[in-house]
């Protein structure tokens, strides 16, 4: 909380060196004891910078991640699926907002973070640079991409920074329906007509490897991993999480009656994990660099929405300036009833 004030947080360079050392010791002890760091606590500058970058990238991924799925809202093949998909894409906007809000507790401004996204100075998850070519892709995204995201995110509910951990608790709670709806969607296709089954298999073939890349480069090539693990803003290594994900997916794919496109997949009794084939890291780095199938399209749609919305945001700000004081709490409207559309909650039960 008290986000604006976070700017004023005491910084190391303002302090006597002895003080800095003492603060750092308190910080390190708190992290070691699995306590949460809160916005106004002293923290190393590098910790603050890493967190802002990580939360912003996460928020950007939610926002850009709306596009490949929104691509199918207008073509959803049943009204039930359409409702589920709209609710899911809406959740992603919501998750982006939670995460920007968490980043703002450290003194970053959303406007600035969005600007960094729009100008390519901050990244989003590369997975969203792949296109959604058929309806089954909506299912594959739910099952594999959201599945991988959840594998990544659940441990972050225990990350050392309080606002981030709390945002992740909320996100994970809401995401559980995302993965289930994807699985259910694919199951319906797999059990449907031959064309539907083929559509599902094709989607899984295209999304499997990019999903594995979502966990990031192998541990020995991961630039920020060691420090992030020490700070507990990352709780498991990339390779650990990837293994965990593969172990979860293999039996799920079997029950979907779909195959995973990897001839090397087999259970390794000794390791207690599935072995899997080599990942094409050249593809990963190329997509990350901007050469994926949809990089340009995703960013330009985002920029366009933002630019075309400027006059609307300006209008609301101008209206607020004119009518300053005649709003909200001052009029005694502080308590709003929040009943009406609450039944959308049922969406999670349905999926």
């Amino acid at each position: 909380m008290a986000t604006a004030a976070a700017h004023r947080t005491a910084r190391a360079d303002d302090m006597a060196e002895a003080d800095a050392a003492r603060y750092e010791a308190v910080f390190d002890a708190a992290v070691a004891a699995d306590e949460r760091i809160e916005p106004r606590d002293w923290m190393p500058d590098a910790y603050r910078a890493s967190l802002i970058r990580q939360m912003a990238q996460h928020a950007h991924s939610e926002i850009i991640g709306m596009q490949p799925e929104a691509n199918w809202i207008t073509r959803a093949p049943s009204l039930r699926r359409k409702a589920i998909l709209m609710a899911k894409v809406q959740d992603e906007a919501g998750h982006g907002l939670y995460l920007y809000s968490a980043a703002e507790t450290l003194g970053a401004s959303r406007e600035d973070l969005l600007d960094k996204l729009h100008t390519g100075r901050q990244k989003y998850s590369s997975i969203f640079n792949y296109p959604t070519l058929t309806w089954a892709d909506v299912g594959a995204i739910g099952w594999l991409v959201d599945g991988a995201a959840i594998t990544n995110q659940v441990p972050l509910c225990r990350c050392s920074y309080g606002p981030y951990a709390r945002a992740m608790v909320r996100v994970c709670k809401e995401e559980s329906f995302h993965q289930r709806q994807g699985y259910e969607l694919l199951l319906a296709l797999s059990q449907g007509t031959a064309e539907q089954h083929a559509m599902a298999q094709d989607a899984v073939d295209r999304w499997w490897w990019p999903s594995l890349m979502m966990f990031g480069p192998p541990d020995d090539e991961s630039a920020h991993s060691a420090q992030s693990l020490a700070w507990k803003i990352k709780r498991h290594s990339n390779d650990d999480l990837r293994r965990r994900f593969v172990d979860i997916c293999v039996p799920q794919a079997e029950s979907l009656n779909l195959t995973l496109p990897d001839p090397h997949l087999r259970w390794n009794e000794e390791r207690g994990h599935y072995d899997f084939g080599p990942i094409d890291w050249t593809e990963f780095w190329e997509v990350l660099k901007g050469n994926g199938p949809c990089n340009e399209q995703r960013l330009s749609q985002r920029r366009q929405a933002h630019d075309e919305g400027a006059w609307v945001r300006e209008a609301a700000a101008a209206y607020a300036a004119k009518h300053n004081g005649a709003t909200g709490a001052a009029d005694g409207h502080a308590d709003v009833a929040v009943g009406p559309s609450a039944e959308q909650a049922g969406m999670s039960g349905e999926a």
Partner: protein
């Protein structure tokens, strides 16, 4: 702040009657009326609340980390304020 930047608001949600409003997060809105509406959409999509407060983030005064010790330590030496301070013989219920 540029003309199109909206200020930040802190959102507090009463999850059900009988409980206090609890901090849920923050959001941007041009004014209090829109902040309330945005908060309703964002933080109570799944029926998480019966009432919402929004407060301009800039209006919140917080204790600073330097003051942390005097602010929060006195309570720590009054353990008798906490129920676990008291030993109750086994078998006594509803306490």
């Amino acid at each position: 702040m540029t003309t199109e930047d909206w200020p930040l608001w802190e959102v507090f949600v009463r999850s059900r009657r009988g409980l206090s409003h609890t901090h849920a997060g923050s959001l941007h809105a041009p004014d209090a009326e829109m902040a309330l509406r945005n908060a309703r959409d964002l933080y109570t999509r799944r029926g998480e609340g019966v009432s919402i407060w929004v407060v301009p983030s800039a209006a919140i005064t917080a204790s600073s980390p330097d003051e942390k010790d005097p602010f929060f330590e006195p309570a720590a030496d009054k353990p008798y304020r906490h129920p676990t301070f008291y030993e109750i013989p086994e078998g006594v219920k509803h306490l």
